[in-house]
Subunit: 370 residues, 2 copies
């Protein structure tokens, strides 16, 4: 089935000329990938011969719910869980399923594991469907952390449905109906609220915060499909704790903005127990850094061990090559690939050269002029 192109050849040519789109290839499948936003086309949009999968658009972050919900949304909206994982769009191209990252690459890991993550029968009835989902869990290849309620491997959580050749989401009722009918693994949907429902919304967020969960997305139940998101204090602490090895590789604003967001969450939710919160905030920075220093004394360097499972060991190789291309100056070192029940278990390290270089210099007694 070759559908009418959603984005005509002239626009594609213009996007490619200006460096906003580029040719890409994965497992023999050729496509065009939007590297950046271009006019109204979101970054990560992918054009196959079989149709266009639009990029998942950026969702604005709300720091103050009390004023923000009413300012950003009109009328009723759905509140859904925001899962801490990585964003994936799944669609069927020819006879195979394909999992695209936010940036529009084929994810060698998710692609391999799709049969474990959802019942793919839905695509037999709905061949042009695009599932928008978060993949999360401790054994994932991208993130140092996972939601507390996932204790092994990874799980997939659908939060939106699209169709090829359209940048719009299916309406909430249609999404919920299809999810029910095909038993799609979905994010928790907390309910339909009005902007005046601050109390129940706040109660849910406080519970998510206590349970160490990331936050919520608010989706206007209207044709204009406005969305906004809000994360818990816990999520900010968890981001800091899990990224502290990258202290010098991430932009330093990564850390200062999270501390500021945490302060705003605590203020708005009127959380008690500042001693406990302060202790957790300090630990988020210091536990990891002290562990890094001890590890540097012991092993001469700081790294993080990642584990993930594959059905086909060849896909582990694809993943390593993909990570090496995408990781900038953070080093990826494959450690092991061995059978593990019905799977192959890949182990690799992510080595943080900036933190390692600085600790090597500092612990060797070099001076800094600042």
């Amino acid at each position: 089935m070759i559908s009418k192109p959603a984005i005509d050849a002239e626009r594609i040519r213009k996007a490619m000329q200006s460096g906003k789109a580029a040719d890409a290839e994965s497992g023999g499948l050729r496509y065009v990938r939007f590297v950046h936003d271009f006019e109204d086309i979101a970054r990560g949009t992918v054009i196959f011969d079989h149709g266009t999968v639009y990029g998942y658009p950026a969702i604005g972050r709300l720091l103050a719910l009390r004023t923000g919900l009413a300012k950003q949304l009109s009328g009723p909206f759905w509140m859904e869980e925001k899962i801490h994982g990585f964003n994936i769009r799944v669609t069927r191209i020819e006879d195979g399923l394909i999992a695209l990252t936010r940036g529009g690459y084929v994810c060698p890991f998710t692609n391999d594991r799709l049969p474990d993550l959802l019942d793919t029968a839905i695509f037999d009835d709905q061949p042009d469907l695009v599932l928008c989902a978060e993949v999360a869990g401790p054994d994932n290849p991208y993130l140092e952390s996972a939601p507390p309620f996932i204790t092994e491997d990874v799980r997939l959580f659908v939060f939106d449905l699209m169709r090829r050749n359209s940048p719009r989401f299916l309406p909430q009722d249609e999404k919920m109906e299809l999810s029910r009918r095909y038993a799609l693994p979905s994010v928790e949907i907390f309910g339909r609220f009005e902007t005046s429902d601050l109390k129940p919304i706040s109660d849910i967020l406080k519970r998510l915060d206590e349970e160490g969960r990331e936050g919520a997305v608010f989706k206007e139940d209207s044709p204009r499909q406005r969305r906004t998101k809000h994360v818990t204090g816990s999520a900010n602490l968890s981001d800091i704790r899990n990224s502290v090895y990258s202290l010098l590789d991430l932009s330093p604003e990564y850390f200062t903005s999270r501390i500021l967001r945490l302060a705003l969450f605590v203020d708005e939710q009127e959380l008690e127990g500042s001693d406990d919160l302060n202790r957790r905030a300090g630990a988020a920075f210091l536990d990891g850094l002290q562990e890094a220093i001890r590890r540097h004394h012991r092993e001469g360097r700081v790294s993080h061990r990642f584990r993930c499972r594959f059905r086909d060991p060849e896909n582990a190789g694809h993943l390593i090559r993909y990570l090496k291309r995408a990781s900038g100056h953070v080093q990826i070192v494959k450690r092991d690939l061995k059978p593990d029940g019905e799977f192959w278990l890949l182990e690799f390290d992510r080595i943080y050269p900036s933190l390692n270089g600085l600790l090597s210099d500092w612990l060797a007694g070099k001076v800094v002029f600042d």
Copy 2:
């Protein structure tokens, strides 16, 4: 007394042409100021008709004493207290004393208060002397914080002596002899050590840390005058706590580097009580930010009130003008100038536009795309 110039006219011309030096003026006194390092001339070097006052050189910071002292210093060295204040060089030009900032400006505040800060009789015997000192205390116009052992106003602490027209420091014995003879207010000198004396040095640093003091400077007792400095964990926490209103105005590395230094101090000094340390580290970030948010709710903006005392109220005006020129986009707003005993008490606010702008946006419910 017009002395032979230490830096000849040709070098001054070259430095000015390349933007490294510039003409300056204060109270009718004209001079040349080195805005940046130029060849072997330190930033802050000032050339008067009466001679040159060399800049106070940057001192390299040591993060790990165990390896660093032996690497940076040879033979015996003096360990002196590093005071958390601002760096001043005091010298006599014509019949008046002048206090120069690190950058080579005349400090309108210190200049005004010199008679309170030290017995200036030393300059009658030693007219070409340059006192290098730290001015510190809660009522200072530059820093949000002060050493815990100074509870009001400011004090001056001499830590080096130079002579005009020479970039070298007087040897330690000569400095100590002059300090004694003229009863100069000085930094605490902890003693003369060898690089193998790690235990007593570490004990002093742990005591300084417990007392909330900043750290130490290590000065090689040799003609090459090598120096290095090291600060306590407390000092890093205090820097964070006192600069958190400037979270968005300082480089974000300001905060991440201090957290990393703190982790290294704790590791090297094998400090116990991680819960307490974590709580203090979290509080350093969060107490100030939560206070900022509450103040923003209440007053619509975040600012810090500074107070300092003058003998001559005209100098308060000079200070405000100087601060307005030097403060970049941080706003300086004069609040009050009134008699206070034998002094004039100036009050002014430093207003942090970046934090204010961000809090205004966020608390009004705007969204952020990140």
